[in-house]
């Protein structure tokens, strides 16, 4: 079993998943990814990642519902919403739904440090 901190990324865009996986793995994270919110919830419960990076606009089940259902199931891990919808209302809605942090897309150069901060915060 890896002793690296685990990050779960849930995003329906495979290109974004590949990019984030590469960057976080390079920074020493163990990375799990999925394009499906339901599968993401199962992984979160089973593997208890240090941080979940959660896209909001997704087909099948959106990020608001993923975090709401996870919190309803008692999930207490750190969750950062990561979305290209960056209005003030979007930010507040993700926090209200149960996310701890809000990361706007495009992600910047300090993305990896931000994930570490969230993990240790």
């Amino acid at each position: 079993m890896s002793d690296k901190p685990k990050v779960l990324i849930i995003d329906d865009d495979e290109k974004i998943l590949r990019m984030m996986r590469r960057r976080l793995m390079k920074s020493g994270f163990d990375v799990v990814t999925t394009t499906n919110g339901y599968e993401g919830m199962d992984i979160a419960i089973e593997q208890q990642p240090a941080v979940i990076i959660l896209d909001i606009h997704m087909p099948i089940i959106n990020g608001y519902d993923v975090i709401s259902q996870l919190r309803a199931k008692g999930y207490k891990g750190k969750v950062a919403a990561c979305t290209a919808s960056v209005g003030a209302r979007d930010t507040q809605k993700t926090i209200d739904a149960g996310c701890d942090h809000f990361i706007s897309k495009p992600i910047d150069l300090g993305f990896e440090d931000l994930i570490k901060e969230i993990m240790n915060g």
């Binding site: 865009d13 290109k15 974004i16 590949r18 990019m19 984030m20 590469r22 960057r23 390079k26 909001i56 606009h57 997704m58 087909p59 099948i60 089940i61 959106n62 990020g63 608001y64 519902d65 290209a84 919808s85 960056v86 209005g87 706007s104 897309k105 495009p106 992600i107 910047d108 150069l109 993305f111």
Partner: protein, 364 residues
């Protein structure tokens, strides 16, 4: 001049309608109406004296306002209501009616006096203003939604492009060659997606300003159709969707690039919204009309959204769970391009079963 005769003359000459109903008689018949009332309603005095004034009401009179009036009459109090009434000819008018009880010396309720103003012009003007305000608010909302959508659609490919750059600029720790190849492909595709979105926005802007000029030439539909199919084939292959070609040639005048764009837009949409089944492109001639049909077995369009399908700033699903990305401009641009060709674009669709977009062009 005595006061009674002055009152009578004033009421007879007033431009507001005045009626008096007798409470001591069952059904409260009218015992007096002034000439203004007969002019507003179209009834003569003889026709209405002795009748309850409910003859002014119609099926769509506001029941809430009527209830206020009934309650006031029942309790012997005054009220002011606005009623939709009808003239003798059946023409609706808005009646601002003030009703007051009249008591005799023994404090007994004997009559009601009603004063009515025809405020139809004002009500219609208010309704027009309200409708204009609602339309302006709807337009603002749609534009805000659209700007948010465009912002989201621009940021998504930019995330891939900008997010991958640090991986390619760290000279001490470059990814392996196969990874670099994959990253470059992702950046390339994201850039192309971004460009197509920008082109769509520019196209829409040019068309709406009347600045998009066609370069018409004689065209064979089979040439353009196969060309368009070749362009979208890789998209269909990725989803293992066959494109059925039912191409019969007809000749027409059109802008080759724009007609191809029309077909690509319709075929791409059909592929995007179809999970299983097939996409069919059929072209054929009926009399003087050349017909192009793009049919899919996809998710279809709801009956409620169908009237808005070609609107620029609308998406059937703008929620966080929407299944497919895109600016939502494609169909609007396609419709406008067909219009510029003096053609007609129509759609038939059933939710869950699929859609057929049909274009008709005049043939040569």
């Amino acid at each position: 001049m005595n006061l009674d005769s002055l009152f009578e003359r004033s009421i007879e000459q007033a431009i507001t309608g005045v009626v008096i109903a007798d409470c001591s008689i069952e059904d409260m018949p009218l015992i007096y109406v002034n000439p203004a009332f007969t002019q507003i309603t179209g009834y003569s005095k003889e026709e209405i004296i002795g009748k309850n004034c409910r003859f002014l009401q119609g099926q769509d009179s506001d029941t809430k306002e009527l209830q206020i009036l009934r309650d006031a009459i029942k309790s012997g109090t005054d009220c002011k209501v606005i009623l939709k009434n009808y003239t003798k000819a059946g023409k609706p008018f808005w009646n601002e009616l003030s009703v007051s009880p009249v008591y005799n010396e023994s404090k007994k309720l004997t009559h009601f006096i009603g004063i009515q103003n025809d405020i139809t012009t004002k009500v219609e003007s208010d309704m027009k203003l309200l409708k204009a305000k609602e339309m302006a608010e709807e337009s603002t909302r749609l534009k805000t939604d659209f700007l948010n959508l465009v912002s989201h659609e621009l940021r998504t490919p930019l995330t891939v492009m900008l997010g991958n750059l640090p991986l390619l600029t760290d000279a001490d720790d470059m990814p392996e060659a196969k990874d670099i190849e994959e990253i470059a492909k992702d950046i390339q595709e994201s850039g192309e997606h971004l460009l197509s979105l920008i082109n769509e926005l520019l196209d829409l802007s040019r068309i709406e300003q009347g600045k998009l000029k066609l370069i018409p030439e004689p065209l064979r539909i089979d040439d353009v159709a196969y060309d368009a199919i070749n362009t979208v084939k890789s998209l269909a292959d990725k989803k293992s969707l066959p494109i059925i070609e039912a191409i019969k040639n007809f000749d027409f005048i059109g802008d080759r690039m724009r007609v191809k764009q029309i077909l690509i837009n319709l075929l791409s949409n059909a592929i995007k919204y179809t999970v299983e089944g097939e996409v069919t492109l059929a072209t054929y001639q009926e009399g003087d009309i050349g017909i192009i049909e793009v049919t899919d077995t996809g998710s279809g369009i709801s009956e409620e959204f169908l009237p808005y399908i070609f609107d620029s700033f609308r998406q059937e699903d703008s929620s966080a769970t929407r299944q497919n990305r895109g600016s939502g401009l494609g169909l609007s641009i396609t419709k406008k391009l067909v219009d510029l060709h003096s053609g007609e674009l129509t759609v038939r669709s059933e939710k869950g079963k699929g859609s057929t977009f049909s274009i008709s062009f005049p043939v040569i």
